[in-house]
Amino acid sequence: MSGRVLRSTDLWRIALRSSLLQATWNYERQQGVGWAYALEPALQRIIVDPAARRARLADHTAYFNTQPTMASLALGAVAALEEQRLGGDPADDPAPRVKAVLGSSLAALGDRLFWFTLRPFAACAGLLCAVNGGWAGALALWTCYNVVHLGVRGAGVWWGYREGPQVLGEALRRRLERLVGVLATLGAAAIGLIVAMLLAPGGEPRPVVFQATLAAGLALGLFAAQRARPSPTEWALGFGALCVIAGWMR
């Protein structure tokens, strides 16, 4: 990073502050204020004039939204852009366009990776360990998710800073897509193992009522998953009410 204004400590501070990206999440600007707060260490270093710096920070409080972990890449890329702008034409400001483009493309990939795949996968890893009791399940869930989450959150700022607006190149996209595929495949296998462990924990088969109800739940769940509404929680509340009635009447 020789010849550059930002130091490693600045990038570390951006990475740390990115944990608060969603602190002021709202419908109007979404992550806007969190974004400006995370970028503040970079602008503190790059823009010496306090009034100009405050104005630039105020500009950055405008609307921004992406998947929060992947935001690190955009933060690094925009920090590099701000650095390049130093001494250049103030009218030439690519940051809003880059933020918009990176925000949506990182969200598309990040939602699939973190919300649709890694989070459920970590839950399955935790459940596999928790089904037989013990605290290891919670640890497995937390570790499994955070190895990737904290890794990307920390290293993402450096990747973004090094690569600039081209950070989400074809190579990285392909690697992340492959990770999504691997995790989804392992997740499907993990659910198979969880069901097996629930049916016969420690080799002792559960009562037929349990096995039949679990199978009914799986079938109903696959039917319910075809539609976004009602949500899984609404289905579960409905079935819970039915079970309470059945328990009372039996």
Partner: protein, 235 residues
């Protein structure tokens, strides 16, 4: 106030922070919070029974885009807390099972009721972000950190207050019912637990499989293989 009840309230605040405003490390997931509460209350088995059901339902709830998902951060804490508080009133297995049923139902209802609360917080944050921008333009660079601090404090306070309210209402309102109707409720738990687990696991399976035949086949192979290994033993 008992230190164990205080732990439930504080964990509610911490979970509310982890869920969205701070770090999102999944510390707020029901399995993690239930395990922590189980260790504090000295009944890990009951806490895990509730935590597993709520975790499966939480994992099938996706926080995508600007949709406000059910708040399983607070729901998980309330669910495990209520089950532990009600289940600890008696040594009998049926009382534990009745506590688990009420705990899961309380957790799901809290998660559902948490949605308007989250929306309210997000609307409060709109005013905060507008104030932050005007304060920055007026020359106060500290406004950014002040806005972040205020939002974090609000989220923690709302988390503690919502947990305390839902926990208090559920324990006060339902302890007599659990004490007198524990057998019927234990029967309901025997039906509801596998049904809820199956429902949630199917949602997760659907998320993973995405109409890929190889993944569906792998699920079947793992289920059959796992079951055979458990029943017959390893060769």
């Amino acid at each position: 106030m008992s230190p164990r009840v205080l732990a439930v309230f504080l964990l509610g605040g911490i979970a509310a922070l982890d869920a969205t405003p701070v770090a999102q490390t999944l510390l707020s997931q029901p399995l993690v919070t239930a395990t922590l509460l189980g260790l504090v209350w000295g009944d890990l088995k009951l806490a895990l029974e509730v935590g597993i059901v709520l975790q499966i339902l939480a994992a099938s709830t996706m926080p995508v885009g600007s949709r406000t998902p059910e708040d399983y951060a607070i729901g998980g804490v309330v669910g495990a807390g209520v089950a532990l508080a009600l289940g600890s009133q008696s040594e009998f297995e049926v009382a534990h099972n009745a506590g688990a049923l009420v705990g899961v139902l309380a957790g799901m209802l809290t998660a559902k009721l948490g949605v308007p609360l989250l929306k309210w917080q997000r609307r409060r944050n709109e005013g905060l972000s507008r104030w932050c921008e005007s304060a920055l333009r007026a020359g106060d660079q500290g406004a950014l950190a002040a806005a972040q601090r205020a939002a974090v404090a609000l989220a923690f306070a709302v988390g503690v207050a919502a947990t305390a309210t839902c926990f208090g209402l559920a324990v006060r309102g339902l302890s007599a019912l659990v004490a007198h109707e524990s057998i019927r409720m234990a029967r309901a738990w025997a039906l509801a637990q596998p049904l809820w687990i199956g429902l949630g696991l199917a949602q997760l399976l659907h998320t993973f499989v995405q109409r890929r035949l190889t993944r569906a086949a792998l699920f079947g192979i793992a289920l059959l293989g796992g079951w055979l290994v458990l029943m017959v033993g390893t060769p």
